[in-house]
Amino acid sequence: MTAFVLALVVGALFALGTFLLLRRDLIRVVWGLAIVGQAANVYLLAMGGLTEGDFETVPILAGHGVDVPATADPLVQALVLTAIVISFGMTAFALVLSYRVYEEHDTLDVSELGDRE
């Protein structure tokens, strides 16, 4: 049942992100990118399996030389961590680019920008 909820949430976030991507306002396009990125991260993490969190499942070991318990998948977490940082860089860059576009062209309407080419 919860998997169903998860799928629903990822689907809904993708849909909302796509809708924003198609707007004419460049800032909203950047938001769309950010939302799609978040949805992809949630999906990626879910692929590693979601369990009720407790002391054991957190992928941080209690100390050196002790038994290794069955933790949540650390590999997907490493992947998602990288993805978060990269998407931060991308969003920031896209945002500043939009700002520059506005300064140069006095508009943020992508249709108008497209027509200029």
Partner: protein, 788 residues
Amino acid sequence: MSPELTVVLAAVALPFAAAAVTPLLFHVLGERTGYAGGAVAACCFGLLASQYGAAGTVELAWIPSLEVTLRFTVDGWALLFALLASGIGVCVFLYSPAYMHGEPGLVRYYAALLAFMGSVIGVALAADLVAIFLFWELTSLCSFVLIGYHTDDDASLYAARMAMFVTVGGGLFLLVGFLLLSIVAGDALGPAAAFDLAAMLESSDEMQRALREAGLFVPVLGLVAIGAATKSAQVPVHFWLPNAMAAPTPVSAFLHSATMVKVGVYFVGRVRPLLAGLEWLLLFATLGLATMTICAVLAVASTDIKELLAYSTASHLGLITAGFGFTSVLGAETGVFHLLNHALFKAALFLIAGIVAHEAGTRRLGDLGGLRHDLPITTLVTVVVALSMAGLPPFSGFYSKELLFEAAVEAGHVHDIGPLEWLYPAVAVFGSIFTVLYSLRFLSLFFGSRPAPLGEVSIHRPPVTLLAPPALLAALTAVFSVDPELAVRAIVQSGVDATAVSPHEMHVGLPTAYSPAVGMSAVTIGVGFLAYPFYGWIHERIRAFPRTLPPVSSNWWYDAVVDGLTDGGAWLASRVHNGLLRTYATWTLATTCALALLGFAATATIVPADVVGLDAPPEAALVLLVAVAAGIAVVRSESHVAGILTLSILGFMIAIFYILASAPDLALTQLVVETLLLVLFLLVIEEIPEYDEVELGNVVRDSVLSIAVGATAFVTVLVTTDARPAETTALARYYAEQAVPKGGGTNIVNVILVDFRGFDTLGELVVVALAAISILTLIIMRTGGDSE
């Protein structure tokens, strides 16, 4: 005797190596590079001749993991073709320096000619489908370069593009045919033989049975036929060959009469034992005879000597195709023997056409005549080769045409083909009458009186380097005319052995008793000579035909297709590539969704059996639902500020979700990133005025697309999480267990990032640094007063 790998490899590689050093050679030798090319060709000829009498396959591992091997087969058929290519190559290289004297771009010319010769020798010897295709397309490429030799001439470039379009396009059909063939061969003969044509030919009965069982016999036959027909200028794609006459004459003699255009018919002969049958007969005999007749008729309509020879070449290629099309052994004899005869007399004729054009300054048939006084030796040479082309006894062309007539008559005895039994011989005779006509017309250039326009031109005798090559070829033609059995014993018999289904000993000679074929020859020659006085009238009648009906003219439908493609491409580009982000996003996303959903549907995984494979705690579900609500708020937000704040809510909810999913590092990073982004957004927004979306017309379309994307993501999550392995993967387990011993840290995620996958993280840092530098540059460019 089995062939030597090193010798065979050297014969193929030598021309390519020479092509690579052509610029250096030209630097040293200047226009005499042609003689160096002749030496290379002679070396190849010698290397190949040393393998005379050998039979077998040699191989060199090329891509062992894919079972791709560079295999070369040496047998009579391969040697005949390779020797022709290098032998005529010698003639053409010796002829070139005098003919091409003072032309620019000779480096390109000689390099392409050498590479071409290597490719043809490669096609002749290769026994591996991949290698054959490679060499096959290389010949097309070299032909493109050589046809477009006059780069400042539009007609030349048009012809080069046309030849490229037709022959390379046909080569792609051949490639598909090869792939189908290799799939069947891989099943029937084992994976090692998947691309091995020699092995397929060895067990041709088994292959043919396997092809028929797989239902691929007719497709493979058709695809091979398209590839061969485009290369060998068969109707209805014959039109590129007359256009290719824009190339310099030595190129026409070498590529477009003797060798490149013969690659198609050569390959037809090569696969003949593999695919022969009733379908084969119907396809190739019909194709060949149609080409032979139509192109002979068109040759009579020509006004230019090279055009006449080009149509004549296509017509003779049709004859060879038709010969191979007849499944009896006579068919193989026709094909092999005529390939040899035609290469000799047609290359000579082209070289003579070059001499005529060079000395008389024109190629128009109407302006030429009575050249025998000025060019006596050339006239003698022409008489031999033109009468051989006409198929007059006792010249060499007569014997192979006689074999065609016999094979055509025989066809009805081998297979039950209904009325085609008499139609094939009738068409063969009809086409041959036109062959006699245009051959006599070519010969008439040297006889009769000189037309007025030629009166004042003083015609010099050609230098010996121009005259020797065609004279040599004509001498060979004369030898084979006097003693055709010599040619048979020397090489034709072994060529027939390789191409016939059940070879037997071959005999040719002047007929001593009446047979249907003799009667057909008599009719052909008799009617040809009787009709010759009406040549002008027939010529005009045929020329009037395309004027009344444009679609039958050779270039009409090629232009229609190419223009249609160009216009279609421009129209599509303006629709898809219109500069609007929205259009790009729509096409990309819609295509991705359609492909993903189609993939799921095709593999029938669209509905997972049970969806309980993934247990998310209920509080996580709740947090995620809040995130979605925040997302809806972002979309509905009227102002930028509201949107940014709700976007942050979404981000923080995801951070909480990470905490609940036992991922504290992610949560920390997410919190930092979200905070930074919030600040950044607010800073930027301050500078930008509120933008009101004016037009709402596309909301419905956008919503439909968004829902489609969302649905695809939904299905993907369901399907893929269902396919997830139940336990922790071995990889995850490895990192968890080795974090302390190998990485020296207890935080597994951190150890992975900075230790196990340290270089990945370095790359990530580079990306972020680049983004930071770019941002800085973007801002400084403006404030630095560099505004433009």
